[in-house]
């Protein structure tokens, strides 16, 4: 938003986007369940040029103790970007943006995990963005769901996430970094496909009410694509990757 005018063509006359995709086509997505030895559950995702690693610990004792809840387990999420993950070196200390994203991802996962079965404990989700290229919160949320499932935490559904947006007055799926900077709107969506529930929803950019509706629907379709890949990743790890 508010980026400088440039020669970048966001959408050409054939409806092809700046990175060669069609309007309803997501970037290349690769999800792998497991991978880390010490974490109770882990996942790795490549979403276009995003590379994100997630480790999950717990249910385990809560430190500091006063955070523990006698009725339910608690979920804690830290979203963190490495200094080398972006063009200009990022200060390693958590920024206000990272604190907000940690919070929205936590609230997106909470409806999915059944923590009432583990009172007085904590489940910690550590998200490390190794390389960022637009849409990290969606990729991180998708990977975090897989890591939680890999840790054996009881879940109502996986949360799949994908962004929709608007460039050149057209609603598109999966906004990349250039489109986010120069485009008109970006709407990240987290969705539980089986329960048909939206658990993460943000928007910046101007949409008419019709575009708003179309954007949410487009994003949900993207989430369903991610959902299949999440299930495949878990299937590959636990049932071998013999058959497709």
């Amino acid at each position: 938003m508010g980026g400088r005018e440039s020669e970048l063509v966001l959408l050409d006359e054939n409806g092809i986007r700046c990175d060669g995709r069609k309007v309803d086509e997501p970037r290349r997505i690769m999800i792998k369940a497991g991978g880390l030895k010490n974490a109770d559950g882990s996942a790795y995702i490549e979403f276009g040029d995003n590379k994100i690693l997630v480790g999950v610990f717990g249910p385990r004792d809560v430190h500091p103790k006063h955070m523990s809840n006698t009725d339910t387990g608690i979920l804690r999420v830290r979203y963190h970007m490495e200094p080398f993950s972006v063009t200009e070196r990022k200060n390693p200390a958590p920024s206000r943006r990272e604190i907000e994203i940690s919070k929205v991802i936590k609230e997106a996962l909470e409806p999915a995990v059944m923590l009432d079965k583990f009172p007085r404990t904590a489940v910690d989700v550590f998200i490390e963005v190794l390389q960022a290229d637009g849409g990290t919160r969606c990729a991180a949320l998708s990977a975090a769901s897989v890591a939680l499932a890999d840790a054996g935490i009881p879940m109502r559904d996986l949360v799949a996430a994908c962004a929709a947006g608007k460039v050149a007055d057209t609603v598109i799926l999966d906004v990349n970094n250039e489109e986010d900077q120069a485009g008109q709107a970006d709407m990240p969506i987290g969705y539980m496909p089986n329960l048909e529930k939206i658990t993460l929803l943000q928007l910046d950019g101007v949409l008419t009410p019709e575009e708003y509706k179309k954007c949410v629907e487009t994003g949900i379709n993207g989430c369903k694509i991610v959902y299949d890949l999440q299930k495949k990743a878990l299937h590959d790890k636990y049932f071998g990757n013999g058959g497709d």
Binding site: G2, E196, D204, V206, P209
Partner: protein
């Protein structure tokens, strides 16, 4: 960290029971915001200011306008920054010290609503391209808490910006210098209005008060502009929304927002 105590559980039961009959604890309709009182120019030393009460939530916003260096990739645009802070006197649970995730989210959501609506035409706030621009800083302080600070702060900031007068600067030997007698209004293109809705059970309520706020399963804040477009949105809380609910909340935000926009316009008009 807010922990839900026994009292909150009891309140939630009562609130839910009332909602089943289509009623709210304070007698409002489900889509009815609390009374909004806007007093502009509350702080004459600021370039613009507003003291806003939304029910019993009270926020003061002061706007300071001063020359600044542009952001490196935005040499042809002025700067807009909006913050929000909970003062320790606003609620017994508020402690001094660095802001927690709740307050950081509050400040960022309020800033985003105004920024993404392009309320202020930042291209008009350039003193000299790539060298010196005008910065508009809208700082909200919460002085009394009764829920829904997202909207209270957004209205305070919007009203304060509408009431602002900016001096004119020009560069003299590379130093921004005020040109006397050339004060003008801040260039405004649209009036953004945020509407926050809570979800309790299967009910959607507009502008939750403090009791409703602790009982909410989830919330959604939607900002609309003067043309009825949706320009910013934030979902929060530990539950989700269905597609139909999200669409319905969009419609409510346009409808409720247009009434509040009239109120904010009056505040500006009454001020001149």
């Amino acid at each position: 960290m807010t922990s839900v105590g026994v009292l909150d559980e009891l309140k939630k039961l009562q609130i839910l029971e009332l909602l089943e009959q289509g009623k709210r604890v304070d007698g409002r309709a489900l889509d009815e915001p609390r009374e909004l009182v806007v007093e502009t120019n509350a702080i004459p030393k600021a370039n613009g200011s507003a003291r806003v009460r939304l029910g019993d939530s009270e926020v003061i916003c002061g706007v300071k306008i001063q020359p600044d260096r542009p952001f490196p990739d935005m040499g042809d645009k002025g700067i807009f920054i909006c913050t929000a802070e909970l003062l320790p006197l606003s609620d017994p649970s508020v402690e001094t010290g660095p802001p927690g995730p709740d307050v950081i989210e509050l400040a960022r959501v309020v800033d985003r609503g105004i920024r993404e609506s392009h309320m202020i035409d930042l291209s008009q706030l350039v003193i000299e391209k790539d060298k010196s621009v005008v910065g508009v800083f809208a700082d909200n302080v919460v002085v009394d808490y009764d829920g829904n600070l997202f909207d209270a702060c957004a209205y305070a900031a919007t009203a304060a910006i509408l009431s602002s007068k900016t001096p004119k600067w020009e560069l003299k030997n590379d130093v921004p210098t005020i040109v006397e007698g050339k004060e003008s209004e801040v260039p405004v293109t649209t009036i953004p209005v945020s509407v926050t809705m809570g979800k309790i059970g299967r009910h959607i309520i507009v502008d939750p008060n403090a009791d409703e706020w602790v009982c909410m399963d989830a919330r959604i804040t939607i900002t609309t502009d003067s043309d009825g477009n949706i320009c910013a949105l934030q979902k929060g809380g530990s539950d989700g929304f269905s597609l139909d609910e999200v669409i319905k909340c969009g419609e409510i935000s346009v409808k409720v927002g247009s009434k509040i926009r009239e109120k904010l316009k009056q505040a500006k008009a009454g001020n001149q």
